[in-house]
């Protein structure tokens, strides 16, 4: 496929920008780890633990989504 270097740089940049999603994955895993341990200790509190887990996951995922937004900006706007 032929193109110019700007197209190539855009694609490489978008790929590099997504490396930051690694942190999001680790954060979500840690949050679920804590929640599962909490439910294992106290199954009656499962509802509250689950709600707070979803909240924590959304915060951690937001940072990974910022990386995705930068990648999409690079691909589709610049």
């Amino acid at each position: 496929m032929e193109g110019n270097i700007i197209e190539a740089a855009k694609l490489i940049g978008a790929g590099l920008a997504m490396i930051g999603a690694l942190g999001g994955g680790i954060g979500i895993g840690l949050s679920a780890h804590g929640a599962v341990q909490g439910i294992a200790r106290n199954p009656d509190a499962a509802g509250q633990v689950q709600t707070n887990m979803i909240l924590g996951i959304a915060f951690a995922e937001a940072v990974a989504i910022y990386c995705l937004v930068v990648a999409l900006l690079i691909l589709f706007v610049f």
Binding site: A58, E61, A62, L68, V69, L72, F76, V77
Partner: protein, 330 residues
């Protein structure tokens, strides 16, 4: 006989419909291979010339604005349905009104457990933001949104168009090596409202601004000592200055909340719709349905998270420094 107690085993019907649609989809994808739509971050304008309104001035009608109007209409219909059900006077609402009641009761319980006596002031914001963002997010699952619209001639990145019914055109893959680049693209009539940064930033600004308003309502002018914290500045040696710096950081964090709210919602839903486009065009049979399922949950979770974070920040704003954990356990 035992027939009254045991249920008779029957053939499942829905699984055969799913199989039928997969087979039909395979043949449809062979006949008309799907084209990857043109993806752009900014919402597309539907009118060539701006509409001039008395107060606002020049105004372009974008497809996300059409989606926002549809969201409003759907919410008003929901209001009407629940109002009719409540007017009937039964104690236990059934059907759709009952589902809305369950949702709002869950939201009110969450608000009450976090905010205590300020729940009545905070609940409208939580519930409105959640319902509006939920309906707006779920609109991307409806077939026709993001895919049916005007055909626009474009200089680069376009596909060939073919008339499949009188007046109805569809983009098809060009046969042979035609001039790649020249062609048509689709400008959808309705595009998901949450993929427009205007919608998300506006909601984030409203949320953060009303947080400050509720903070002032709860604590009066003492609320602003959260940002301008000179209480310990001249009394305690080092930590006073640190507290002052923390107060200034809180001010910066309010602005970062606006960015965080808006980009969280925008990024999730825009990435979801791009994934729907790309996977729908790469693997035309059945794969897009799995992405649709994911987007269903992402829509719910993002709506709830937007509302829940708004509620939590408002509840935090009503509580000062000293009585931090006073009203939270009710």
């Amino acid at each position: 006989m035992e027939k009254a107690t045991t249920t008779k085993w029957r053939w499942g019907v829905h699984r055969w419909f799913v199989l039928l649609f997969i087979i039909l989809g395979y043949f449809a994808a062979r006949a008309y291979p799907p084209i990857r739509p043109h993806v752009q971050l900014a919402p597309e304008r539907l009118t060539e010339h701006p509409i001039v309104l008395p107060v606002i001035g020049e105004f372009y009608l974008t497809n996300t604005l059409v989606a926002t109007f549809l969201v409003d209409i759907i919410l008003l219909i929901i209001v009407w349905v629940v109002y009719r059900a409540v007017q009937k006077g039964e104690l236990v609402l059934g059907g759709f009104a009952g589902a809305m009641e369950a949702l709002l009761e869950g939201i009110y319980n969450m608000t009450e457990s976090a905010a205590g006596k300020w729940a009545r002031a905070i609940f409208p914001f939580f519930a409105t933001i959640t319902l509006m963002v939920l309906v707006a997010n779920w609109m991307e699952l409806i077939p026709g949104v993001d895919s049916i619209g005007w055909l626009e001639h474009t200089a680069h990145g376009g596909e060939a168009a073919q008339e499949i019914a009188p007046g109805v055109w569809a983009l098809v893959k060009a046969e042979g090596e035609e001039a790649h680049g020249e062609g048509y693209m689709v400008v959808p009539w309705v595009r998901v409202a949450s993929t427009d940064l205007n919608f998300t930033v506006a909601l984030a600004l409203i949320s953060v601004f009303m947080t400050q308003v509720i903070g002032v309502k709860a604590q009066g002018a003492h609320y602003f000592t959260k940002f301008w914290n000179t209480k310990n500045l001249f009394t305690v040696p080092v930590f006073g200055a640190i507290d002052f710096g923390v107060g200034l950081l809180e001010l910066i964090s309010e602005f970062s909340k606006v960015l965080s709210f808006s980009f969280r919602l925008f990024g999730n839903i825009f990435a979801g719709s791009v994934m729907l486009f790309v996977i729908g065009s790469l693997v035309p049979v059945f794969a897009q349905s799995l992405v649709l399922l994911l987007e269903f949950f992402v829509g719910v979770i993002q709506a709830l998270v937007f509302g829940m974070l708004t509620m939590i920040f408002m509840a935090q704003a009503t509580q000062g420094h000293g009585e931090a954990h006073e009203g939270a356990h009710g």
